[in-house]
C-alpha cells in the first residue's frame, strides 16, 4: 500500500491531445475525523492518487499576537496554553523564560530542574498522543487504548502541580506558584518507574509489526534538505536525518547539564517520525531521572522561585498580614513593575519543533509586539509536496505523523 507508484503513473494520460483521466475533487475537512483538528484540504485525485492539495487554515484563529498586545506579561501565559495544547507546559515555560530573558532573571537550579522535569513529561504526553494516533489512523486501535493511560498519569501530575490538566497555565514568571506537593513527586516517581514497561508494550504492538511497517515505511517522505528549506524543526526534521534540537543547540533551563541522545531517522517518512518519537520518549524519561537525581542531591528542598518579588505573587496570608507582600501584590496585579525596553528571541524545543517567542517591549505593561514562531504552522506548508503522488489513505497518516495541532497552527 505504501509502495510508491512509478513516477510517470500520475502523468497526463494523453490520447490525441485529450486528457483521458477522470479527476475528482475531494474535500478532506474542515471537520473530518481523520484530521484531528480543523483543517481543510481540497484534494485533486486521479482515482486514489493525489495530484494536488490546496490547504486552507485559520478555522480556529484567535489572534493571540493581537491579544498579547493588550495583556500584562503574566496574563499571556494562558494564551500560550492554547497553542500546542498537547504539551501546554512547554509553551508556558517557554513564555516564562522569554520574559525572564528580557528581564535578565537567572533562576535557582532547583527551579530550572523542576521546569526540565515538567517539560519532559509534557514531551512524553505529546509524543504519546501523536504516536498512538498514527496507530489509530492505520487501524491499530489497541495502542491508543493501552498507552493513553500514561498520558492520563502525566496529566495527574499537572493537576497536582497547578490544578489544571490540558490548558495548564503552569508556573509563573520567575519560578513556580508554589512548591510541588509530595503527591506530585510520588506520581512522577511512579511514572519514571513504570513507564519504560509501558513504552516496551507500545513498541511490541507497533515497532516491528509487519503490517504497520508496510503501511508506514516510505509513506510521506521528505529529504533533510527539503525539510530544512521548509523550516522543519523538531522530531519531523530529525526523522529526515538532521540532528537539530534546541535543547542542545541553544540550551535553556540547564539542559546542558543533562546527558541524552538525539535520535535521528534516515528517510523522513512516517515510520521514521514514529520511531524518532518513540526514542525521544525514552530519552525524556532519562532526563527526568537525571533531574530527580540532581534534586535529590540538593539539600535545598523548598526553593521554588527566584528572588523576584516584583514578578511572583506572594502567598495570600502574607499579603493580608505584612506590608511588603501587600505592596508587591498590588504592583504585580496592577502591572506597575518596570520592564526594560528591548527585544528578545527565545526558543524552546516544543513537542513538535522549535517554539519561538519574539518579544518586543517598549517599556509598557504589555508587549509592544509578540510574534510566535509556531513550528507546525511553518512545516505544515510542506504537506502538499509530501503527499503528491501518494494514496489518499497515506495522506491521512502523513498528516497524523506530522503532529499538526490545530491550536498551534492557527494561533
Amino acid at each position: 500500500m505504501s509502495q510508491q507508484p512509478p513516477t510517470d503513473f500520475w502523468a497526463k494520460d494523453l490520447v490525441e491531445g485529450r486528457d483521458l483521466r477522470e479527476l475528482t475533487t475531494l474535500n478532506l475537512g474542515p471537520t473530518h475525523p481523520a484530521t484531528h483538528g480543523i483543517f481543510q484540504n481540497v484534494l485533486t485525485l486521479d482515482g486514489e492518487i493525489i495530484l494536488d492539495a490546496q490547504q486552507t487554515i485559520g478555522y480556529i484563529h484567535r489572534a493571540f499576537e493581537k491579544l498579547a498586545e493588550r495583556r500584562p506579561f503574566y496574563q499571556i501565559t494562558t494564551l500560550t496554553d492554547r497553542m500546542n495544547y498537547c504539551s501546554a507546559p512547554i509553551n508556558n515555560m517557554g513564555w516564562h523564560m522569554t520574559v525572564e530573558k528580557l528581564l535578565n532573571i537567572e533562576l535557582p537550579k532547583r527551579v530550572q530542574y523542576m521546569r526540565v522535569i515538567v517539560m519532559e513529561l509534557a514531551r512524553i504526553a505529546d509524543h504519546i498522543i501523536c504516536n498512538t494516533i498514527i496507530g489509530q489512523d492505520v487501524g491499530a486501535t489497541t495502542p491508543f487504548l493501552y498507552v493513553y493511560q500514561w498520558r492520563e498519569k502525566i496529566y495527574e501530575v499537572y493537576e497536582e502541580i497547578c490544578g489544571a490538566r490540558l490548558t495548564t497555565n503552569m508556573g509563573r514568571i520567575g519560578g513556580w506558584e508554589r512548591n510541588w506537593s509530595d503527591a506530585a513527586w510520588a506520581k512522577i516517581k511512579a511514572i519514571v518507574k513504570d513507564l519504560p514497561a509501558g513504552l516496551k508494550e507500545f513498541d511490541n504492538m507497533l515497532l516491528r509489526n509487519r503490517i504497520f511497517m508496510d503501511r508506514t515505511i516510505g509513506c510521506g517522505p521528505i529529504s533533510g534538505e527539503r525539510a530544512l528549506a521548509y523550516g522543519f524543526t523538531g522530531p519531523n526534521l530529525r526523522a529526515a536525518g538532521v540532528d537539530y534540537d534546541v535543547r542542545v543547540a541553544d540550551p535553556y533551563s540547564s539542559y546542558d547539564e543533562f546527558d541524552f541522545i538525539i535520535p535521528v531517522g534516515t528517510n523522513g517518512d512516517t515510520y521514521d517520525r514514529f520511531t524518532v518519537r518513540q526514542e525521544e520518549m525514552r530519552q525524556s524519561l532519562s532526563i527526568i531521572r537525571q533531574a530527580m537525581e540532581k534534586l535529590d542531591k540538593m539539600s535545598d528542598k523548598t526553593t521554588f522561585r527566584g528572588e523576584v518579588p516584583e514578578w511572583v505573587l506572594p502567598p495570600k496570608e502574607e499579603v493580608y498580614s505584612a506590608m511588603e507582600p501587600l505592596i508587591w501584590h498590588f504592583k504585580i496585579v496592577m502591572g506597575e513593575t518596570d520592564v526594560p525596553v528591548g527585544e528578545v528571541y527565545h526558543c524552546v524545543e516544543g513537542g513538535n519543533g522549535e517554539l519561538g517567542f519574539y518579544l518586543v517591549s517598549d517599556g509598557g505593561r504589555a508587549p509592544f509586539r509578540l510574534h510566535l514562531r509556531r513550528p507546525c504552522y511553518i512545516y505544515y506548508q510542506a504537506f502538499p509536496e509530501m503527499i503528491k503522488g501518494s494514496m489518499l489513505s497515506d495522506a491521512i497518516i502523513t498528516m497524523s505523523s506530522m503532529n499538526v495541532i490545530a491550536g498551534e497552527l492557527d494561533a
Binding site: 487554515i57 485559520g58 484563529h61 489572534a63 499576537e65 493581537k66 491579544l67 498586545e69 493588550r70 530573558k101 530544512l228 528549506a229 521548509y230 523550516g231 538532521v242 537539530y244 543547540a249 541553544d250 502591572g335 528591548g342 527585544e343 528578545v344 528571541y345 526558543c347 522549535e354 519561538g356 519574539y358 518586543v360 517598549d362 517599556g363 509598557g364 505593561r365 504589555a366 509586539r369 510574534h371 514562531r373 504552522y377 511553518i378 512545516y379 506548508q381 510542506a382 492557527d410 494561533a411
Partner: protein
C-alpha cells in the same frame, strides 16, 4: 564559516563581510542583547538575505514577521531571524519602510518556508511581496476588511472608555 569560532568572532566576521559588501545600504549593525542585528535598506534586503544564506551559511529561516510603528516616520517593518545550525549562530535582519511603499521582494526563492510567513505578514499588516506565488490571506477570512495587527485596528470595542493605552503603561 567554521563552526568552532566563538560567537563574538562569528558576529565580527558577519559584520565585516556585510559592511564591506553593502556599504551604505546597511544602515546599522548593532548588538541587540544576544543577537547581532542588521538594519538594511529596503532595496538591498533581498540581496542581503541571499548573501547571508549563500555566502555566510545562514541556511535556515526561523521567522519572518511584520511590524507596525505608528508613531515613527518609517512606520512598517519586517524582521527576519536567520539561523546557521552548523555553527549554532543566529542573526536578526530588520528592514523598515513607509505605509505608501509596502512592497518587498519575496524570499520564497531562497526559502520555500517564507511562503506562509509572508502570507501572514500580508494578512496581518498588508505588506505585499513581489513575486510571491500565492499571496492570499491565510488565517483571516478572504474578505476581511482590515489588516488586524496594525496598531490602529482596535482590539476591543472602540467606544469603551475603561480600556485604553493609559492602562497599559503607554
Amino acid at each position: 564559516m567554521p563552526g568552532f569560532l566563538i560567537k563574538a568572532e562569528r558576529d565580527q566576521r558577519v559584520k565585516e563581510r556585510i559592511s564591506a559588501a553593502f556599504a551604505e545600504k546597511v544602515t546599522a549593525i548593532e548588538q541587540e542583547r544576544d543577537l547581532l542585528c542588521i538594519h538594511v535598506k529596503k532595496e538591498a534586503l533581498h540581496d542581503l538575505l541571499r548573501t547571508l544564506k549563500e555566502e555566510l551559511g545562514f541556511h535556515f529561516l526561523t521567522t519572518c514577521c511584520g511590524m507596525h510603528f505608528p508613531d515613527e516616520a518609517q512606520d512598517f517593518g519586517l524582521v527576519y531571524h536567520l539561523h546557521d545550525m552548523r555553527a549554532g549562530h543566529r542573526i536578526r535582519v530588520k528592514c523598515r519602510t513607509t505605509a505608501n511603499d509596502l512592497e518587498f521582494k519575496t524570499a520564497t526563492d531562497l526559502w520555500p518556508t517564507a511562503n506562509w510567513m509572508e502570507r501572514e505578514a500580508w494578512d496581518f499588516f498588508g505588506i505585499r511581496f513581489k513575486g510571491h506565488p500565492n499571496l492570499k490571506r491565510i488565517l483571516n477570512m478572504e474578505d476581511f476588511p482590515a489588516f488586524p495587527l496594525r496598531k490602529d485596528y482596535p482590539l476591543e470595542d472602540p467606544t469603551r472608555q475603561d480600556k485604553d493605552d493609559r492602562f497599559f503603561g503607554r
